[in-house]
Symmetry: C2
Subunit: 339 residues, 2 copies
């Protein structure tokens, strides 16, 4: 399997991203890489590393779409930007999937315009795995689409279930709807409609509304369906709260010598916690429902983050999640795109 | 100032809530209390305590609205439920405000039907203070209203600013709009409309969109305006994440003896963190824009929580937040209720 990695448009230095990407190779000998970015810089970064030269190729691009550019505009005028080249490699079947830690809007736009949607898919949603007590679950849409209709969200439910089955290896995943109360009648005008729609779909194992506080406990849903606005709000609130708690801890620890000592002794604990909650573990998301793999990374993805993304992409593509989605959407009775 | 406390309908035992309420009295000699609930149980709880008998009265109620009852139904059929009696004391001007840690929907309904809205107020929002790094900010609506129109949310902005000025003592509070991106054009159909509306209001010091992760940092907005659905999602995600992080820490600490020891040495740190994040500090919210004070507590409000609520109610009512809201709404140019 060949994967394309945009090493040019993240916030971290290209050298760190190149080094992270190739560090995935010894862990899985079925993965080959095409690194997209400035050829000279990539070659320089590679020259300092030991790796199997047959497994790594370079595709040159001198343009990048920066974090604060308008995605629509940039996609139109920077035809050879690294993220677009990476997505085009998927379209041209040179690779099976691509990853970019750059401008999220541009990465989504590149994936949609270059790779395109599976037959029947209305709005490809971003899915992400999130930590809960003693495990993980997945949630979609994490922010690719706002103002989602019940039709879109019925498709999300089907897609999320396929993802949970094949990627998270959960036998009969329970699907919940993100809401502000557990009772059937809770929510706003849209979640009420979505609830009714999901309840009518016999094959998705719908367990009803799920509140965000319960979602993070161990016994909650395996798949949480949400409008992309709400999903993104949840994602950013989790990120902000985790960071706030850790910072509060640091501030408190410094207040007296005994806790400073205690804090030092707990350093491995903090490191483990940090890695469980970091965007390098949970910061990359997958755009589901396309004719190929599209992985979207957090801007601050580190070398370790790229390595994880490469290994996860393999897992996602090897398990043929998108192929299965095409079939299940057809079987589920969810309304499909017909144009 | 006299405050009514519904000690009957929380999740904690009546005795704990009674004890918590009267423990506020020595800290502020201007507060008197009316405790609402079963007279015999309250008398028994009080008989074990030392307090100034002239400052505490009891109002008997034998009915409670339980946590899982439908608010609309319960309000209609349980005319003498403790929460309704407490709200009615505000309406009858026997007290200045009431607090209930019971069924949130029922508390809101009791406040709306018994106390009623200030002239011009469309939808009274729930406001709450939340912790951020090195301080606090306030956010509204935390869940009283879903499907909020730009008109409602323009009023929320005015009300939130008055609250931040008079209750949090911030000179010229900065108002932000909860959104999934900072740029002016970000968001869903409704936040885009609200953004335009807030931008036109000259007097509210609108600073633009605020993302939830930034909101919890020290330099973000003082007032965050949100639709009640989104506000409630944020509140419950903060609660769930804080609890997840603390539980992950506990799990990790147990994994080796050094960190167990470190954990013991850090116990004061954890306790301080717990109190900074607990629902007893941040779990009570105020329904703004009514003809009296209405405080809504978390179901699991403890004795300490009731004590905090009593002291905060005094601060809120003493600073005449609602009275000032009536005036500012009139001056702000925000559309007002005219029926």
């Amino acid at each position: 399997m060949i994967l394309a990695i945009d090493v040019a448009s993240g916030e971290k230095p290209l050298e760190e991203l190149v080094s992270g990407a190739i560090s995935a190779l010894p862990e899985n000998d079925k993965i080959n890489l095409i690194l997209v970015g400035n050829e000279k810089s990539i070659s320089q970064a590679l020259s300092k590393k030991k790796y199997d030269h047959n497994r790594v190729d370079i595709r040159h691009s001198d343009e990048i779409i920066s974090m604060d550019e308008s995605p629509a505009n940039a996609i139109k005028h920077k035809k050879n930007a690294s993220v677009l080249l990476a997505a085009r490699l998927v379209k041209d079947k040179e690779v099976d999937g691509f990853f970019s830690p750059g401008n999220t809007g541009a990465t989504l736009a590149a994936a949609l315009t270059e790779i395109g949607r599976l037959k029947g898919v209305m709005r490809p949603p971003l899915i992400s795995t999130l930590p809960k007590l003693g495990g993980e679950f997945c949630m979609l849409d994490m922010g690719a689409n706002v103002d989602c209709t019940p039709d879109y969200m019925a498709q999300f439910a089907v897609m999320g279930r396929v993802f949970a089955k094949r990627y998270l290896k959960i036998e009969n995943p329970r699907v919940g709807l993100l809401n502000i109360g557990e009772e059937d009648s809770k929510g706003n005008a849209n979640t009420k409609k979505v609830f009714e729609r999901l309840q009518k779909m016999k094959k998705i194992n719908f367990i009803g509304n799920v509140e965000p506080n319960d979602m993070l406990k161990s016994d909650a849903a395996d798949v949480v369906v949400a409008d992309g606005f709400d999903g993104n709000i949840v994602l950013k609130t989790i990120e902000g709260t985790a960071s706030l708690v850790v910072n509060m801890l640091k501030t408190e620890v410094k207040k007296n010598p005994v806790s400073v000592m205690g804090g030092l002794m707990m350093k491995p604990v903090f490191n483990s916690l940090k890695s469980q909650l970091s965007s390098d573990s949970y910061g990359s998301a997958i755009l589901l429902g396309l004719n190929g793999g599209a992985f979207v990374g957090h801007g601050k993805t580190s070398g370790v983050g790229v390595k994880n993304a490469v290994l996860n992409m393999y897992k996602f593509l090897e398990n043929k999640v998108n192929e299965k989605i095409a079939k299940e959407l057809f079987d589920s009775g969810a309304k499909r795109r017909i144009f």
